[in-house]
């Protein structure tokens, strides 16, 4: 597979103030449209970190959240942003992708119920309806959380609501949702007058998986180890910049996005403030680092939940930089 596709213009980023040196194009497919979490990439571009490494970043948007892994595996894009359990799932399906570096180190996908409901604790959801986006991973999350809390998960009615997590809960058709992010859905629901209570899966028996990580293909990891290293370095610098200059970085992102879609500043601000602490692990592990234990824990849990049927080698799931 050959590097990146020629871009459709708009997404190609680069400072390009007369740089005579040929920049190497590198492409990444985001997990979703640009938002606060991606400010670290934009900071990398705006502050010239990519250019310093002789790189020019081409940012692509997926049609579906499962597309990034497929496209990275086929080599149509160089990198992708996706979820750690999804990487495990992919490997179980023989899709040759590997985790490069965690970006958000902890789950964002919390179980949420309206604040004014009688769901005080996950086990209260027995006999109730939970909306989720038909991702089997979420079924496992719900099951683990409720059972760990002492409830009977078989008494919960799970409904695939695909696009409409938020309307599911505001319209009262679901008593809780799984699949919502604390940095997005929770923030938006609060803003629109429907505050929710969120239950952290880690506190209810789910391994502390990386919600968002940088992923690449086995092939690229092997053949272009330098590129991978450079990319992580740039991302780390971008992260550090954002950590130090959150307001500025966010303004830059909003400014960029204004040309195509006006993001709401307050939402993204709140989102970033939720995210930043989760991108490092209380200082004990530095940005981007990962461990085989984390992968093993996730794999074990997924196996136990029958999310995967085959054995997945934890060591092969990620690359050590």
């Amino acid at each position: 597979a050959c590097g990146s596709n020629p871009s459709n213009g708009g997404a190609t980023e680069g400072k390009g103030n007369g740089g005579a040196t040929e920049l190497k194009k590198v492409s990444i497919m985001l997990d979703w449209y640009p938002n606060a979490v991606h400010s670290i990439l934009y900071a990398g571009i705006d502050q010239g970190y990519f250019e310093e490494k002789g790189l020019e970043l081409d940012i692509k948007i997926p049609a579906d959240t499962t597309d990034p892994l497929k496209m990275v595996a086929t080599g149509d894009v160089d990198f992708a942003m996706n979820y750690q359990p999804q990487v495990v799932m992919a490997r179980a399906e023989n899709i040759p992708v590997v985790g490069v570096a965690p970006i958000v180190r902890h789950p964002l996908n919390w179980l949420m119920a309206p604040e004014d409901s009688d769901v005080e604790s996950p086990k209260d959801l027995e006999g109730k309806t939970i909306g989720y986006p038909a991702i089997p991973m979420n079924e496992a999350l719900v099951k683990t959380i409720i059972e760990t809390d002492g409830g009977d998960s078989s008494k919960v009615n799970l409904v695939d609501v695909n696009w409409d997590l938020m309307p599911a809960i505001t319209s009262g058709n679901a008593d809780a949702i799984s699949g919502g992010y604390i940095n997005h859905e929770q923030v938006l629901l609060k803003k629109n007058g429907h505050p929710v209570r969120a239950f952290n899966p880690v506190e209810y028996g789910v391994p502390d998986y990386h919600e968002l990580m940088l992923v690449t293909s086995e092939k690229l990891a092997e053949e272009q180890a330098d590129l991978v290293k450079d990319f992580v370095e740039v991302m780390t610098k971008g992260f550090e910049y954002v950590q130090a200059n959150a307001d500025e970085a966010l303004d830059k992102l909003l400014e960029r996005q204004d040309a195509s879609f006006p993001l709401e500043k307050d939402v993204e601000e709140e989102s970033l403030s939720v995210l930043l602490p989760l991108m490092t692990s209380n200082g004990e592990a530095k940005f981007g680092s990962q461990s085989v234990e984390s992968w093993a824990a996730v794999i074990d849990w997924m196996k136990e939940q029958e999310l995967i049927e085959v054995d997945v080698d934890a060591d092969a799931c990620f690359i050590k930089l």
Partner: protein, 250 residues
């Protein structure tokens, strides 16, 4: 007889070509699985697919298509026979076709919750337009000379409608219906994305999220079969109901 053998041969040839190309070009299984994989997946999960999910979707399709016909025929009549219908209802009907379901889904959920009616509503929304256009254009095709003849016989509008306009509108109506029938399958599939816990649409999303392209395409295969059956059933009914339109003159 000969034709169905030809069809069989070509289907098999098509399947083999697909298998060959996918294998030769090394198209990754997770992007486009070869038929062998799809059938393997189908073989493994056929009970689940055929007895749990297919009936759910089929029921949505049939209910949706049936109501769609009723509503569309009503709308076509209003549009054809009343000025207000043409000036007001037609634009609204057209507008309804330009709204992405995403925009409507919260409203549909508010109204219908996660009952079957939400899915049926989406199916109707996606299928009724071709029938309306077919119906309106079919009614427009009325030969005025026959209407005049009927009038001299003292026919009232109801009689003119049933004995002259309907027979002449049927060919266009059936064209629309065939498009609608085929679309109804995808309509129910999309409808299930509003909120479902069973059905081929639901299942296909799960398969997709699990990166199980073979299962996804096994589902698509069933959806296609359903689409065929619907299309050719309608075409068969069409040939039976308007033989004068099909009869090849010697």
């Amino acid at each position: 007889m000969k034709n169905s053998r030809l069809l069989l041969i070509i289907t098999v040839a098509f399947g083999l070509a697909w298998e060959g190309i996918v294998r030769l070009l090394n198209v990754p299984v997770f992007i486009l699985p070869p038929p062998s994989r799809i059938f393997a997946a189908l073989g493994k999960h056929w009970e689940l697919l055929l007895f749990t999910h297919l009936p759910v979707t089929l029921w949505e399709v049939i209910l949706g298509l049936f109501l769609s016909i009723v509503i569309a025929v009503g709308a076509a009549m209003l549009i054809h026979f009343s000025e207000i219908g043409e000036r007001v209802l037609y634009p609204i009907v057209i507008a309804s076709q330009t709204i992405p379901i995403v925009a409507l889904s919260p409203i549909l959920i508010m109204w219908f919750g996660y009952s079957i009616w939400g899915k049926v509503a989406v199916t109707i929304l996606i299928t009724f337009f071709p029938i309306v256009v077919g119906g309106v254009d079919g009614l427009r095709a009325t030969n005025q000379e026959w209407v005049n003849l009927m009038k001299t016989m003292g026919a009232n509008s109801r009689q003119i409608f049933f004995k002259v306009q309907i027979p002449q509108a049927l060919p266009a109506f059936f064209s629309g219906l065939k498009v609608a029938a085929t679309a109804s399958v995808i309509g129910a599939t999309i409808g299930e994305w509003l909120g479902a816990s069973a059905g081929l649409g639901f299942f296909s999303r799960r398969a997709s999220h699990n990166l199980q392209a073979d299962l996804l395409f096994a589902t698509v295969f069933l959806l296609s079969i359903a689409g065929f059956v619907l299309f050719y059933t309608i075409q068969w009914i069409e040939k039976k109901s308007i033989p004068w339109f099909y009869e090849e003159k010697k």
